[in-house]
């Protein structure tokens, strides 16, 4: 990286209300101005968490103020995101962000996605442990022989409908979701959405705004379609298959893994929709469109997680 020579020009400070750019060259440091959004963010996050905890802890039938606080917190979080991102977008449009800031943003997004990978890793790890060790051990395999003999000698270890809810048959008899119906369709939908978002990206780099809007819009629709089918699948699981969150560890892993993934698809779809409106307003140029790229990275990540889910939760 080339930096400006330490000449007279290097000491000139560009001042504007949004921050400080130090040095005159494009590559010089930029430090954003003070902002109350981080403090607001901390407050609304606390409000959300406190409300959620209070709500969960309320005794059954107890009114409690937890839900009200939670609602206020969630609305606050949404407002905070809106406000904070609006100020960042304005700064970006004003041309304050130089190459170095852009690189920092990219690194931030990449490492954020890595942290998400590790978050899903914890749940996949739980799934693998349960399927490879805890269920077979309960059935008497390996060093689980005594547990099996003394506690649950009539339990035969197996995954899926015939043993996935453990020796106590927690949640009662259930059936599993066939991978070759909605899940397969959802796989095709998400894979196609990865293709459409990439076509939109190429169109952005080529400067074809109409094409971006069409393909990015298609991606948003595919994301929404995925969520719609996922909801259908959940309703069917609950009402027809008796597969619920309570269906032993099979139901636990099924709903937590697909549920957290669905939450990420929801976020990704909202992010894509925001980006669609930003394209409409002409926020992006051929060279500068980090917001677009960050969201598309996120979308690809969500897609890859789904492939893992399809393989390990549905098929195997």
């Amino acid at each position: 990286m080339q930096f400006p020579e330490r000449s007279d020009g290097a000491k000139a400070i560009k001042r504007n209300p949004r921050g400080l750019t130090m040095g005159q060259q494009h590559d010089a440091y930029f430090i954003p101005a003070k902002s109350y959004w981080p403090f607001v963010a901390a407050m609304v996050m606390f409000t959300t968490m406190f409300g959620a905890a209070h709500w969960l802890n309320a005794a059954p039938g107890e009114a409690g103020f937890g839900r009200t606080v939670l609602t206020v917190g969630v609305v606050g979080v949404l407002g905070m995101f809106f406000g904070w991102f609006r100020s960042v977008i304005n700064e970006s449009l004003a041309g304050d962000y130089n190459h170095q800031v852009d690189t920092s943003f990219r690194m931030g997004m990449m490492w954020f996605i890595f942290s998400e990978v590790m978050f899903f890793g914890a749940f996949f790890g739980a799934l693998f442990f349960i399927r490879m060790f805890s269920v077979p051990w309960l059935g008497g395999a390996g060093h689980g022989a005594l547990t099996h003999q003394f506690l649950w000698s009539d339990y035969t270890a197996s995954w899926g409908a015939n043993g996935g809810n453990g020796p106590a048959h927690v949640g009662g008899t259930f059936s599993t979701v066939s991978p070759w119906g909605l899940p397969l369709l959802n796989t095709l939908i998400l894979l196609s959405s990865s293709v459409t978002v990439t076509i939109a990206h190429h169109a952005l780099r080529a400067g074809h705004r109409g094409k971006i809007l069409v393909f990015l819009g298609l991606t948003v629709l595919l994301g929404a379609l995925f969520l719609n089918f996922q909801a259908h699948e959940y309703i069917e699981a609950y009402h027809e298959l008796n597969l619920t969150l309570h269906s032993g560890v099979y139901g636990s892993t099924f709903f937590l893994l697909t549920g957290f993934h669905g939450l990420h698809v929801t976020l990704g779809t909202i992010m894509l929709a925001v980006i669609w409106f930003r394209v409409l307003k002409g926020h992006f140029s051929k060279e500068h469109h980090f917001g677009f790229e960050a969201v598309s990275w996120y979308w690809h990540f969500v897609d890859v997680v789904w492939l893992g889910l399809f393989m390990f939760v549905y098929i195997l």
């Binding site: 430090i31 902002s35 969960l56 690189t103 954020f112 739980a126 506690l151």
Partner: protein
């Protein structure tokens, strides 16, 4: 841009804002945010310390003396959570915030607003955590590791889980910021292998944080759903396994203990060369040792769980992998000693704490090796021997390094020297009483005293009383530290020079003392001979 203006002085054109709220709550300044982190950590250190005093007071004599057993359990749990997530980790982040930009020639952290958010989440998270002590049903009392099924009985589990989520979000954002700063904001000429060891240690620590804090979030989320949403992750009746929680928790937990020690290694690697007036011995070996320790930290987690009945193959694998850590750690200890060998040493307070670190941390390392042996661990598991071990690595290790760093950089932060006499008083009191406090715990543990228990067999009475006396006096000694800090910040008249310490090298000593509100508006020119470890290629 029309607002362009020229300035000759680089410390007056944009000083700290006047308004309190603007300066501290809206900050984008790494120094102010670093200060906030450090003040927060110090506050939490005294809160967590007061919990420890309750524990030692109750254990002063056998029999239930002062508090109810449930409250005692709350104290052991909260002491750990507050000290780990509230004192040690934020202190390191505060030091990193203050020093990393100064050490690599950056004007600030890479993402200054996110930096502010990372900090401000913490007071709220601890408000959430500590408030549980005053709620009906009480706070968490199942130990900081929150093993199910015990932790699922707690009425405050949701608050604790959400507090941990907030702390995790804060840590992850802080770590992302540190990585982006180190990789993207270095001044030209500050090659990766010219960076101070402290910066290297934080780069690797930040990676560990991003890798494992989400895993902790996943583990506690499963606790939450098991308690409130009827899942069966940790319920064998439903096909789950409580040991699964331990695996996931310690997959986080073991890298976590290195998160609390690697920056300490970095600090010691800065302090010892300064006062030995020699470059660090084996700079590259030090860096690679930190990286090896970080790698190994991912494949040793089950040594916390030898006693749960793991398959034999797992016991053996985790035992050997754990003992392997002694190799890179040994490299570090030998290199610190070699750095001092033949140096012209002086013994100012930071150096005293650093030398105490090398000796006492090594004791903690050796007891760790004993615990790594599966057959021995079956005896030591959940006894006071374990308590002695991790307090040697965390108090005389991590905490002593933080104190050393505070004395070392305090003149740079405040522009004034602290009182060397009272600094040494703090040191000698700390180092004597900390050993009176923790060394007898080895004997208690080997004799079979279990940890986390408010009452004990009369056979353990003498050592417990000695330990409690050490505890009270070690606690009191920290008030000297508080006094030294207050004196230095508000009353000291002895101006610090820019270099502060005769043997100090590195970019942070080239800026004035106190460091101006903004430093390195223009990337500094790096002269290798001015860096502590710059000449590694030659």
């Amino acid at each position: 841009m029309s607002h362009a203006a020229t300035h000759d002085q680089h410390d007056d054109h944009h000083g700290a804002p006047k308004s309190f709220f603007q300066r501290w709550c809206m900050s984008t300044n790494h120094k102010d945010i670093g200060t906030l982190y450090l003040i927060f950590a110090l506050t939490m250190f005294f809160i967590g310390g007061s919990f420890a005093m309750v524990i030692r007071a109750e254990l002063f004599k056998p029999g239930l003396q002062l508090v109810q057993p449930y409250f005692f359990n709350e104290m052991t749990t909260m002491h750990a959570l507050v000290m780990i997530f509230g004192a040690i980790m934020p202190a390191f982040v505060g030091l990193g915030n203050w020093m990393i930009p100064l050490m690599v020639g950056a004007p600030d952290m890479a993402l200054p607003r996110m930096n502010n958010l990372s900090f401000w989440i913490l007071p709220f998270a601890f408000l959430l955590l500590l408030s549980t002590l005053f709620m009906p049903g009480g706070g968490p009392a199942g130990g900081w590791t929150m093993y199910p099924p015990l932790s699922l009985q707690s009425d405050s589990l949701a608050y604790v889980v959400f507090a941990i989520h907030l702390m995790g979000i804060s840590s992850i954002m802080g770590a992302i910021n540190i990585i982006a700063t180190i990789l993207n904001m270095r001044a030209p000429g500050m090659d990766l292998l010219k960076m101070p060891v402290f910066v290297w240690s934080w780069l690797i620590t930040a990676f560990l944080l991003i890798a494992v804090m989400p895993v902790l979030a996943g583990a506690v989320t499963m606790l939450l759903t098991d308690k409130y949403f009827g899942t069966s992750f940790f319920n064998p009746g439903g096909g789950g396994d409580p040991v699964l929680y331990q695996h996931i928790f310690w997959f986080f937990g073991h890298p976590e203990v290195y998160i609390m020690i690697l920056p300490a290694f970095g600090i010691i690697s800065e302090v010892i060369p300064t006062f030995a007036r020699k470059p660090i011995f084996g700079y590259k070996a030090m860096v690679f040792a930190i990286a090896s320790i970080a790698f190994l930290s991912f494949i040793v987690w089950a040594h916390h769980m030898f006693a749960v009945g793991l398959p034999l193959g797992a016991d053996i694998f985790f035992m050997y992998a754990t003992m392997l850590i002694a190799v890179p750690t040994g490299v570090k200890v030998f290199n610190w000693v070699s750095t001092m060998w033949g140096g012209s040493m002086t013994f100012e307070t930071p150096m005293l704490f650093a030398i105490a670190f090398v000796i006492l941390f090594t004791i903690g390392g050796f007891s760790g090796l004993m615990l790594a042996l599966v057959p021995a661990d079956f005896q030591y598991h959940d006894t006071y021997f374990v308590v002695a071990h991790f307090h040697y690595v965390l108090v005389t290790g991590a905490l002593f390094a933080i104190i050393a760093a505070t004395y070392y950089w305090l003149p740079k932060w405040t522009g004034h020297m602290y009182s060397e006499f009272w600094g040494k008083m703090h040191f000698w009191n700390s180092v004597v009483w900390v050993n009176v406090l923790f060394f007898p715990m080895h004997f208690l543990g080997l004799a079979g005293m279990p940890r986390r228990i408010p009452d004990y067999n009369v056979a353990f009475a003498n050592f417990n009383m000695i330990s409690s006396i050490g505890g009270f006096l070690f606690g009191a000694s920290q008030l000297i530290f508080l006094g030294v800090l207050i004196h230095c910040v508000f009353f000291s008249r002895k101006k610090a020079t820019d270099r502060v310490w005769e043997g100090a090298k590195g970019l942070e000593w080239t800026v004035p003392s106190p460091a101006p509100h903004h430093t390195f508006d223009v990337p500094p020119i790096i002269h290798d001979e001015e860096l502590a470890h710059g000449n590694v290629h030659g």
